[in-house]
Symmetry: C2
Subunit: 333 residues, 2 copies
């Protein structure tokens, strides 16, 4: 019985030491959780999968990092909508040959992320299998009609990103190669891979200000392409503006990571020119916020190229979406 | 590109032919869906996993049946709370070596179930892997304070179940053995396994009437045990009252399926004696509703036995929870 479902759910419930959060009428233990939304507000709902071999490797990734990162994936989607984190639901197909300690470590990471965001774990489901697979459901609350969408970018709007790009992908390379970080920049990138911090404060600040927003989960080239497709616009970004870290000798590699590396969980957003003076101060939020380009009108004649990269010698070259594709990208295993 | 994530999401969106359902402000295609709950109502939220090798087998189960059954799992949890089906979110780790036709068939089954329940598919996530794994998130709406919980059963309350028990487990045996159904009863059991129909109409009828309710997903012995544990009571059920189908010669087998077989997705509920006359008419709902036993006070002295089965010759014997355990039960693969 000690390793059965009831014992495990008892353990999960005992971890919930904090007071019952606002709006949670009934939590873990019944057929469904019962939530009471704030009157007149809307709810943002998002789900994110994390599968062994695709998004992490056992033996390479620590279970507590996987749990933390999974929660942050959901919280990052809420941030992109400008929503306040509210509730998390967590479904786990646990790896059947790992001891309960592995599950507990995973849960600790997830709980820590939830706590940092002020969200409560309100339910989920559990089973076990050969290939571990997890699904996080994140619910946020947002004042009626104020959600940030992808489809509002207009020609002339400026394009911004938070934080630094390509950090998580660089960290992933180090993890995969078993490379021990040698300096503060490498340590920071590894940490950004293991423990990304979603930008929910920034997202809420952008309500009523950004014309479009989304989170950077698959890589700037693919995510900006989706934002432009949703908004019916084109875009140009400037190589020299991109917040890229790394030894200058390897700049080409780091540029590739910044454009096409996923899992940064930073925000990508557009601000109308007349609102630029209302921009939040990145220093107040302790996050760098960098202008990287501008939205262009969609050109319909000829063979329309949606994204352009202006290189450091002033040339414009087509930028193709080459980030993560959930159904085509390589398997880590 | 045709098999990539964007093309797949375009296909999924094109399936959504129905009008935008009430409360869905923003559906598939942004970082999160935006929902507007009915003023003054509460929300029921549940997630259910379905993993290859655990809950279905490729080659044995048809993908459209898997999709249908997955949606019904979530809808059954909503039924158990007395909630109106509202929105579904669907996360899929698709089997990487199956053609897109497999995914489309799975989706058709899921869409059909959603349509029957009047729920909308509002979002989800997608990836692919070696072992297919799916997670359904179901949201329902329910008038404030009227959710049916597990913890309200009191001594003297009568115990009821809807439908017939053990049908899905019997159907599963036929599927596993490659047995072709030979008569209407076998055909019905196989259909109940492939296409269970959650009882959301009955659940809503039970609001303000049932003292406790839950759905039968893991088997009566385990589910009643959980209901009694949550309510702090014991229970006795009567073998001769159990709605069991099957050749009488094999009654022992069918009794075992009825007590311990999972995936029936019927409702288990308790009604206070003074409210028995207010019981819904099963004929109106086209579902048999059968009284199977009564709630007993919890005996604390000695070695308390929570569940009792009164056999057909009038003897009381201890009933152990032997249904499905998500972390211990056997793997189908």
């Amino acid at each position: 019985m000690a390793n059965g479902e009831n014992a495990w759910l008892d353990w999960v419930r005992r971890q919930q030491r904090s007071a019952r959060p606002a709006g949670l009428r009934l939590g873990i233990g019944d057929d469904a959780a019962i939530l009471r939304p704030r009157g007149g507000w809307e709810i943002a709902v998002t789900t994110d999968l994390m599968a062994e071999g695709r998004h992490f490797r056992r033996g390479v990734d620590r279970p507590e990092d996987c749990g933390y990162r999974l929660a942050m994936r959901g919280l990052s989607d809420l941030a992109a909508m400008g929503a306040e984190p509210w509730m998390l639901f967590f479904s786990a197909l646990w790896p059947q040959n790992e001891p309960p300690a592995w599950r507990r470590a995973f849960h600790r990471g997830l709980d820590q992320a939830a706590k940092e965001a002020g969200a409560a774990l309100a339910g989920g489901d559990v089973s076990s299998g050969i290939q571990a697979c997890f699904d996080i459901l994140a619910l946020g609350q947002i004042p009626r009609g104020q959600a940030l969408q992808r489809d509002g970018a207009r020609p002339g709007d400026r394009i911004f990103v938070s934080g630094q790009l390509g950090q998580a992908a660089w960290g992933r390379q180090m993890l995969d190669q078993g490379h021990i970080p040698q300096n503060p920049r490498e340590r920071q990138a590894l940490r950004r891979c293991r423990r990304p911090r979603a930008r929910w404060e920034l997202g809420q600040t952008l309500r009523g200000l950004a014309s479009a927003a989304m989170d950077l989960s698959d890589g700037l080239s693919s995510d900006l392409d989706r934002l432009c497709a949703a908004s019916g616009v084109h875009a140009r970004i400037h190589e020299t503006h991109l917040p890229v870290t790394g030894p200058m000798l390897q700049r080409k590699t780091f540029l590739d990571l910044a454009l096409n590396g996923g899992e940064d969980y930073e925000l990508l957003f557009t601000i109308p020119r007349r609102r630029l003076t209302d921009m939040p101060n990145g220093q107040d939020l302790s996050i760098p916020i960098i202008e990287i380009g501008e939205i262009l009108p969609a050109r319909r004649a000829g063979k329309p190229q949606r994204l352009w990269l202006e290189t450091k010698n002033g040339q414009s070259q087509p930028l193709e979406p080459r980030g993560w594709d959930a159904l085509r990208s390589h398997i880590l295993l």
